[in-house]
Amino acid sequence: MYSAKLMDHFTNPRNVGEIADADGVGMEGNPTCGDAMKLFIKVQDNVITEAKFQTFGCGAAIAVSSMITEMAKGKTLEEALAITKESVADALDGMPPQKMHCSNLGADALRKAIEDYRSRRA
């Protein structure tokens, strides 16, 4: 069902946890839907230097969270905003279609974290 890469990111998720002094926090989903994600970023000179997540959800949701934190790190905010559901799924070597819809919240959470960071600076 899941690709080996997705399973790897699920079983050995990268960047799990909170960032106490995060520069931006994004939340997406809710427990009623079955998937909820909280994404923390640190930003320096317009570049994401650190990213962590907390996720409630299925294997795909956790793997997406792990992958997107990896993808975000080192990117400028503009580059990070260009990450889509599809690019995350591609990076995980694909995802079952029904999971694309409901468990692929990473890009949205990242966008919200960046918006949070920007609104704090505004």
Binding site: N30, P31, T32, G34, A36, A60
Partner: protein, 400 residues
């Protein structure tokens, strides 16, 4: 790594004796039971023996057993066939909210044909209140169907009481006994039911063989029209090997019932005790009126699929009523109608035990499962501060 298979509700390994009994009908005994010659008569005889074996398992008469291809077929046949046969009397049916999709969606399809259906709720234990059934009865009611036991939460329903109410109102009563027949004592006479669905793969028989009990004299319209197989009530060339297997499995289930029950009950109690030591884990279903082999829980703050995947990595097979694990992507309707909040229903986990399970297997599950729960909770935004965590910080309540 040895397999610890705790998903007997989904599928059961076939008993070797059952497969042995089936083999001749895959080989030399290939005749069509309708044929008048020896090859056909042997097949016919084998079916009639199986009919007796299945009848004995539920204390029915052989002539009251109709073989079908699946419990889903039996449920469709019973509900639709009895409702259509009685539509001159009325077009109202009653089912419970604990029913399997094959009953639920049949009721819905009858609604599309102009029938009215009442869905009787369940309490927090998943239990149907006979009084609520009684109150739903109208002059138009012709069929009531209530599941014997839920395969998701294990609750055994008060079928005898509900059947008596149906009888007093001259209403046909059907029960889906898929989770009970072959696993606990089931006696159609004692229960007082008019029709019952059961399937072989729930008691170590083959897939593709199931049955419907239909009490002598009960009217029904066929679901599958055609030849005169099964007394003209279910057409189609009989699946002889599978039927033979169902008969043999029924015979073995009947003979071994109390031993099997004691075995799985002891394992289930041990497993339940171990798992309930984990904080914020709740048993679902009725604490006493339940299937001996079924242990079901909701685990707060984490989701079922993740648990299943990490259990599998340890060779442990289980099931979940969470939306993500169901291919229909809907949380278990039974849990929802029991009043379990959807967020918690996503944390459903169900272990169903079988005759092949051992204490070592259960102990290994008791050992591994808390670690898995911890691991997933460590990732969860809710584990520390509870379900409110994301709201407090302004999380999007509606979600994506």
């Amino acid at each position: 790594m040895s397999i610890k298979y705790f998903d007997h509700i989904a599928a059961n390994p076939l008993l070797p004796e059952v497969l042995d009994a089936m083999m001749p009908y895959f080989k030399e005994q290939y005749g069509n039971p309708m044929s008048m010659y020896d090859l056909g008569m042997n097949a016919k005889q084998a079916i009639e023996t199986a009919r007796e074996q299945v009848a004995r398992l539920i204390n029915a008469k052989p002539s009251e057993i109709i073989f079908t291809s699946s419990a889903a077929e039996s449920n469709n046949f019973a509900l639709k066939g009895m409702a259509l046969a009685r539509q001159e009397i009325g077009r109202h049916i009653i089912i419970s909210k604990a029913e399997h999709h094959s009953v639920l969606n049949t009721a819905r399809s009858l609604e599309k044909q102009g029938f009215v259906a009442t869905y009787v709720p369940v309490d927090k234990y998943g239990m149907v209140d006979p009084d609520a059934v009684k109150k739903s009865i109208t002059k138009e009611t012709t069929v009531i169907s209530v599941i014997h036991a839920s395969s998701e939460v294990g609750t055994i329903e008060p079928i005898k009481e509900i059947a008596a109410i149906a009888k007093a109102h001259k209403i046909a009563f059907h029960t889906d006994a898929v989770a009970t027949a072959g696993n606990i004592p089931v006696d159609v006479k004692d229960l007082g039911v008019d029709a019952m669905s059961l399937t072989a793969h729930q008691f170590y028989g083959p897939k593709g063989a199931a049955a419907m009990y239909l009490k002598t004299g009960q009217r029904i319209l066929p679901l599958i029209y055609g030849g005169i197989q099964e007394g003209g009530r279910r057409a189609g060339t009989e699946n002889v090997p599978a039927i033979v297997g169902m008969g043999k499995a029924a015979e073995l289930a009947e003979a071994g019932l109390s031993g099997r029950m004691a075995h799985v009950r002891q394992l289930r109690d041990r497993l339940t005790e171990g798992i309930l030591k984990i904080p914020k884990v709740h048993a679902t279903g009725h604490p006493e009126q339940r299937l001996p082999g079924l242990a079901s829980f909701v685990v707060e703050y984490i989701e079922g699929e993740g648990m299943l995947l990490l259990l599998l990595a340890k060779g442990i097979y289980a099931a979940s009523g969470s939306a993500c694990t169901s291919k229909a992507l809907k949380a278990s309707p039974v849990l929802v109608s029991m009043g379990v909040p959807t967020s918690m229903a996503h944390g459903s986990i169900v272990f169903s035990l079988g005759i092949g399970n051992t204490q070592e297997g259960v102990d290994s599950c008791i050992e591994e499962f808390p670690l898995i729960v911890k691991r997933l909770r460590d990732m969860s935004p809710f584990a520390k501060e509870g379900w409110g965590a994301m709201e407090a910080e302004g999380g999007n309540k509606e979600g994506a």
